[in-house]
Point group: C2
Chain length 500, copies 2
């Protein structure tokens, strides 16, 4: 009878995972398939299913199973201990939020999201402002309910990057931001910008589709356990280890947009397809953190998908999909094309060199909001000032400025840093991969991605949530999260590309 509570815990977690999968499918369908008039009804369905999953997870019985398992009376195998540990962490966090709070938060974010969509359409921050003010109060309340040391932002950060502290983050970004801004400035003033005139042709969507499917297959993405669809905002979603789906989008003038998007989501998807079968339907079958998840997407998208060896392999294949690409276009031409650096207004369209700067300014703003060092009404002004400072460009309107991202409208603060951390983690991990697989670039050049995937499966994917992000980085690299490897990577790559 000693493993009875463990068995019941697993059973309950399985049911909750099933319910969350249903919610995820409702969401995936909303983005991919849903007819327009269904929006209101779908909102209610999502709210109901999410509330039920929350209710099941925070049920007192769950607490009893966990308490009994943590009491030490049960000798737990390491995997079981990890499951209990992770579940207990989530349980404590979830039960700190009363159901009335969760309900109010869901209602207000639903209203805020609708207001944000409309405000962005008319490019008017004031139309969104009162909603964001309400959400900010709720987020501060949430931090209080969850409890924290130091900044209340730490409480929010834990949701995405458990264990990361604001002090550590600020130190990393304080080093990263000026160095990356300085690099961007050098590149913008460089005399060797890449020639991209050869891309001025039609890139039929169906061929772009075929190319992305080919690349995803080559990467090792299992189409028998997933699928690709189109959506306005590309995303990855998992309904379980054997159903991990990606979406992408197409630009008729630029096939590399779809390639990047598919490889980015493919990186996420390989992670989700790489958890262990024994962890299925448990919280162990999740990424170590949002930042680690992002490290996988950014590694495939940028370090691999924007590398010269990658395009040495795919340049000849490009003509299979687009027969009229002229023979004189070399792998190097493609490589230069996909690595244009140009400060721009929109984060999700930003190149590798400018991307973190978009993220860091959002982090600084949301931190100041949570720490009550600024108010919501000041956002547009601060946004413009930071865009000028970090990227040297002027913000023409709110839609292309502070209204561009969905996150705040969903009540997400503490998420943005993960994007930058993802880049840093990726670079730290990648330096180690190059040590472990000295011929990695040779393999990539011959289209063999398996050694890389195998390494990632072994050192990152299979662990699921057994390790925190910082533990994983430490185990792989022997160091703390840091920005030096990423800066080395950028400076080497773009120094050569731009001759600076």
């Amino acid at each position: 009878m000693s493993d009875a509570p463990l068995g019941r815990l697993r059973e309950r977690l399985g049911e909750i995972a099933d319910l969350r999968a249903a919610a995820d499918l409702l969401h995936w369908d909303q983005e991919v398939n849903m007819p327009p008039k269904a929006a209101a009804g779908r909102g209610r369905q999502l709210a109901t299913v999410a509330a039920l999953a929350h209710r099941m997870f925070t049920d007192a019985e769950m607490g009893e199973f966990l308490k009994e398992l943590q009491d030490g009376a049960h000798a737990l195998a390491p995997d079981d201990a990890a499951l209990v540990n992770v579940t207990a962490y989530d349980y404590v966090r979830a039960t700190k939020l009363p159901e009335t709070f969760v309900h109010t938060f869901a209602e207000e974010t639903s209203k805020a999201y609708e207001a944000w969509v409309k405000a962005r359409e008319i490019s008017s921050f004031p139309a969104f402002q009162p909603h964001l003010e309400t959400l900010l109060e709720l987020l501060k309340k949430k931090a209080d309910l969850l409890g924290y040391e130091g900044s209340p932002y730490n409480a929010l950060l834990d949701e995405y990057e458990r264990g990361m502290r604001i002090e550590q983050l600020e130190a990393i970004f304080a080093e990263l931001a000026p160095k990356q801004a300085a690099l961007v400035e050098r590149l913008v003033n460089a005399t060797h910008p890449p020639d991209t005139t050869w891309t001025r042709r039609d890139w039929p969507e169906s061929r772009q589709w075929d190319l992305t499917v080919r690349i995803l297959s080559d990467m090792g993405y299992d189409f028998e356990a997933g699928r690709q669809d189109k959506s306005v905002h590309p995303f990855t979603t998992s309904f379980g280890l054997h159903d991990v789906r990606v979406t992408t989008r197409f630009d008729a003038k630029d096939p590399f947009s779809a390639v990047s998007s598919s490889m980015h989501e493919g990186g996420h998807a390989l992670y989700d397809q790489g958890f262990q079968e024994q962890d299925a339907r448990t919280p162990l079958a999740e990424g170590a953190s949002v930042g680690i998840h992002e490290s996988q997407s950014r590694m495939w998208e940028n370090m691999i998908g924007r590398s010269l060896p990658f395009w040495k392999h795919y340049r000849p294949l490009l003509n299979e999909f687009f027969p009229d690409v002229p023979p004189h276009v070399s792998a190097e031409d493609v490589y230069r094309t996909v690595n244009c650096v140009k400060p721009s207004l929109i984060r999700v369209e930003a190149d590798e060199c400018t991307y973190n700067l978009h993220v860091i300014m959002r982090f600084e703003i949301e931190l100041a909001l949570i720490e009550e060092r600024m108010v919501v009404a000041e956002i547009p002004e601060v946004w413009s000032a930071k865009m000028k400072e970090y990227l040297g460009i002027a913000v023409p309107n709110d839609a292309q400025g502070c209204l561009q991202d969905i996150h705040w409208s969903l009540g997400s603060m503490g998420y943005f840093p993960s994007y930058a951390l993802g880049n840093l983690y990726a670079a730290q991990i990648f330096e180690r991969i190059l040590e472990d697989i000295p011929d990695l670039w040779g393999r990539i050049e011959s289209g063999r991605f398996y050694p890389l995937l195998h390494w990632l499966r072994e050192h990152v994917h299979r662990h699921g949530r057994r390790k925190l992000a910082t533990e994983m980085i430490r185990d792989i690299t022997g160091a703390e999260p840091m920005c030096a490897p990423y800066l080395r990577y950028l400076e080497t790559k773009y120094g050569e590309l731009y001759g600076v």
Copy 2:
């Protein structure tokens, strides 16, 4: 405070509707999108969500709301009284089945379904037989748990055709079967079979797709509140009034197969899109019965979609989609083509004249099984005998015989009669429609389906589950369900077509 229990009842029913919509989406996705390796996980998700919905619906609190509302202390408006009445009926039925029984039933049907898929592949009834024997025992147990008067089959029939009694059904079928069999025999021996040689050409799938979308739109199906997809077995599913989806399938040699399939599902979908907004997320927003639902699909598919006026309208349009259909092919040629009568092995491919015979023999078999007048092992033999008797054809193997239908593998007995009832209801209703809209055929010939849809909305759709099937038929026609109108319809139409 007097409407408090009503408000709470509606709230609870809304949550249950949301959960069922999630289950329906899991199922729709399984048929339309799901990657193959996801099958096992999806099965668990469906089981979990269905069990949760059952648990919520059978919760004691639900019984208390209903009891309080039925006690008469609350003066209920007619719509509220209808809601309470329908919900109480479902509640009493659902609570008669203990959760352990529901769970066992779900598990065994899941196994039986898998066994059926494999058995059909290898065309071996013995591979399915033990599972069907288990399910039959469970179905008899279910009838006992539900309680019944007369035959235990009545208890099962109530799930699909509430209020219909086996005595009434047997009387109708006893009249229908021999008359319809005799008609088929006359037609098969007729000297004027239709010439369909003109259809021997390629019918590109993308054009078939466009044609079905055009027809669905013309019928009044709202693509802003639904969508069409492809699936192996066409079906309609509803996630709420504003998201009712159909699927269809294509035969490269025969565009009329897709037209029929889309119109059939379109008929179901128009019903589901036609419930009242105020009934959304309640059990009132459902069909009166499976038979009434089928009357809508069969009416659009056959009475409209296989009529001469319909093809007088669409014959010229056919060339918009298939430019090389020769001009000499007339509306009458198409009309004759889509109304070929030919006894065949497969129910879902059967023509209008033979269809009910397929259904009635299944009904006779399942009735005999439930009433213990035959055993499962005898099914193949009885199947062959009945196919010979009713349709005059020999059954070559189990796959094309008693293994062709999914229903029994899902633990559904009592469902088949609804298909035949649907045809009968459709004909009864249609006679009344022709009285109310004397120029109906003129409207159809000019492509105006709105008068028909409007009539159906008014007399059938908007009532949802406020009336039982028999009440609805009585209100519309002043008569009980009967087969005379359907036989009149068949004899007139096919007598003229075949000159018999």
